[in-house]
Amino acid sequence: MSDPQNPESPSQGRQPVAKTYKMFVGGQFVRSEGGKVLRQENSQGEFLANTVRASRKDLRDAVVGARKALGGWSGRGAFQRSQVMYRVCEVLESRRELFEQSLQRVAGMSREQAQQELDVAIDRWFWYSGWCDKFAQVSGSVNPVATPFFNFTLPEAVGVVALLPSARSPLAGLVSGLAPIVAVGNTAVVVVEQAPTLAVEFAEVIAASDFPGGVVQILTGQRKDLLETVGSHADVDAIQWFGSPGQESANLETLASDRVKRVHLHRDPEPEAWLEDSMQRLDWIDQCVEWKTAWHPRGI
């Protein structure tokens, strides 16, 4: 039997230790409450691993984890948040080989394509990391009102954001969806259907950087199992959805109306399009904030 993690390595009679792909919830790697798994194959159709098929209960647990972490993460200084985010780039760089191999094996990319996707993912995360302590400066305002008041508008985290990321771009797409959410202090619940092993490897990067537990939860499984819970869960404040708008997104929007949830639908473009600078967007940060305006009288 060849090493499912690394088909090129010689076996020479030694059995490698196969990896169990768990989900990442509340800073812990956990199995599913429901015990269901999905068979993952590599791009040649060979068995790669079993990954967790998250249940609705798993999703609710993930929301609990995200809610618990929200106060600490959104309450952190923006500069410190940016430092934590930058650290992800460091860890990603140090694991280049793993991700290049994974992208080839899971997504069927060539070595060059895999390198390019990884470069973009790291640089994009780097771009969003810097926005943590600049977004408020660029997008907030001091408002010159007519009365003697000091009046200003600042962004705040919207809360717990569910992310249904790109199904076409396993790493650049995931990073492009997740970074703008956490940059402004939200906590995230990500439901990954495509390339789940790669998403779990990315969760390991998050775990190895300085993120407090619960800021990012990564669930693997099938969107169709979880969409109703994502849409109707009272403790999910906003949803970032990538795909082809249709019945699935319409159902999600319908369910979300019950709590006046913020739903943002995005077309999931071709994999190459994810590498373009135009997919690096300040307005995606804007979609993950609430604007608070404060008034205070001036006078003696």
Partner: protein, 514 residues
């Protein structure tokens, strides 16, 4: 609800009588000095004249620059006298369709105008509103029931200021969002409530037009007057036909408008219930949406607050516009150590409020907008009593006709009471106490809404800390119910999404691509 009828039914009703100087001295145990208004002097009537209203018998829907005569008619009444004011044409589906088509036709020319030209139209509109402010204020008060001093000093000047403010944005859109390209969205359907009819029309129309969109506006069926006057002004300033269209009617018209497939965007201000219905209706259509919905704002008074100003802020927060304000400070949270003192001061201040003819320039609290609204306020107040809260109501003579409700506050309120959870949209305040900062924040945030909050403390560091912890889109420090066209306004959670006012208020009317 008069003092007599309620007191007979509910032993927990405490009438708030104007204090005589003698009574005031008796209350001095609280350290509260009486304002000595009491019953010492009577106010002479100071009525504003209704002659300037320029009323017509009938207003039609305003489509492509013309008033249409057709359509089934409904009556608009003065809520303070229940007298007929005029009739209005209802817009049916065909009429709404004509309005949307007109807006679509007008779009290329309007969005293609240089920004500075659009800006000059908006500027002229603001100026004409200023010139005709007296008649607009009179119309607003007659149609809505709000005191003339509020329509004169708040609604109309702010409406003009909104047009003047956004006039200046029309030619600066490329500066509004750094690094981004902007474009108008197209045809916008806007539905507004009855509590600030002209002001809400201005909040909706001004940023939409500045951004290059065209508009179909639906005013509330009980307050169609100032929007119709605005239509006359649009003719006067020769705004290109179809850029703003106004359709009248109730729910059916609203549904026809927001469900029209020719819209690129819907903007709604009103109840959370209807907002959810619209969000559900637009699911899967790709039509953009912003919602400005209900609220249950907390007004938090710390022991180190400037208490006299705080009491003014409490009154401003809940009795302004008869409490029919989505951002009203309807939940008073007082630190336990100053509860008795604040309540004694509040009681005294409420005793000075003058309730009655909205056209009287001395009136503080006018009529509620409709019998339906008055009944709702009354029903919720009775529920408050049934749930065991203690009701304090200004003892005053209410006019025999019209939809009046005396200023009221409830004590002995717990967080689970319906009056502390539901938006009453009337002059009814609930009072709760807290001990610690954390408890205050938890109580304030214990709501599905998130529109407004007030924080009172003379300690700046505490004020900013608590303001930051409030889950609300607008936080007033040592003040309440302040508005400005340059100041973004809008809610968290079930109070809606999107902002109106300021640079942020442009965002919902533009395609912004970074």
């Amino acid at each position: 609800m008069t003092k007599e009828s309620t007191s007979a039914k509910f032993p927990l009703v405490h009438p708030i009588e104007p204090l005589s100087p003698a009574a005031s001295r008796e209350e001095s145990g609280q350290g509260v000095k009486d304002l000595l208004f009491g019953d010492l002097w009577e106010y002479a009537p100071a009525p504003e004249s209704s002659e300037v209203s320029g009323a017509r018998d009938h207003y039609g829907n305003f489509i492509e620059g013309q008033f249409e005569d057709g359509g089934e008619r409904f009556a608009s009444h003065n809520p303070a006298t229940e007298e007929l004011l005029f009739e209005v044409s209802t817009a049916d589906e065909a009429c709404v369709d004509r309005a949307v088509t007109a807006a679509r036709r007008a779009l290329p020319r309007w969005s293609g105008l240089p920004g500075v030209e659009r800006g000059k139209f908006l500027y002229r509109l603001g100026r004409v509103i200023q010139e005709r402010s007296r008649e607009l204020a009179v119309c607003e008060t007659l149609d809505n029931g709000k005191p003339i001093k509020e329509s004169r000093d708040v609604d109309v000047p702010l409406a003009a200021a909104h047009f003047l403010y956004y006039a200046g944005w029309a030619d600066k859109l490329t500066y509004a969002f750094p690094g981004a390209k902007v474009a108008p969205l197209g045809v916008v359907g806007q539905v507004i409530p009855w509590n600030f009819p002209l002001l809400m029309a201005a909040w909706k129309i001004a940023p939409a037009l500045a951004a290059g969109n065209t508009v179909v506006l639906k005013p509330a069926p009980t307050t169609p007057w100032t929007a119709s006057r605005l239509a006359e002004i649009l003719q006067e300033i020769e705004l290109p036909p179809g850029v703003v269209n106004i359709v009248h009617g109730a729910d059916a018209t609203g549904r026809a408008l927001v469900g029209h497939s020719g819209l690129d965007k819907v903007s709604f201000t009103g109840s959370t219930e209807v907002g959810k219905e619209i969000q559900r209706k637009l699911a899967g259509t790709g039509t953009r949406l912003t919602l400005e919905l209900g609220g249950k704002g907390a007004n938090v008074i710390f022991e180190d607050a400037p208490l006299d100003q705080a009491v003014e802020g409490i009154v401003q927060g809940i009795y302004f516009n008869q409490g029919q304000v989505c951002c009203a400070g309807s939940r008073l949270l007082v630190q336990e150590s100053v509860h008795d003192l604040v309540l004694a001061k509040l009681r005294q201040r409420v005793a000075t409020l003058r309730v009655g003819d909205p056209m009287d320039k001395n009136t503080d609290v006018g009529a509620l907008n409709s019998a339906e609204q008055r009944d709702k306020v009354q029903r919720l107040s009775e529920i408050g009593l049934q749930e065991g809260a203690s009701m304090h109501q200004l003892a005053c003579d209410l006019p025999e006709k019209g939809y009046f409700f005396a200023p009221t506050y409830f004590t002995e309120v717990s967080a689970s009471h319906r009056i502390a959870r539901e938006e009453i949209f009337g002059p009814v305040l609930t009072v709760q106490t807290f001990r610690t900062v954390k408890e205050a924040v938890d109580l304030a945030n214990n709501t599905r809404y998130g529109l407004s909050a007030g924080v009172w403390s003379d300690k700046g560091s505490k004020l900013f800390q608590v303001a930051g912890a409030m889950r609300a889109g607008v936080v007033w420090g040592n003040s309440f119910n302040q508005f400005d066209p340059g100041s973004p306004f809008g809610g968290y959670q079930e109070s809606g999404f999107g902002r109106e006012g300021g640079r942020h208020g442009l965002r919902p009317y533009l395609e912004v691509r970074s």
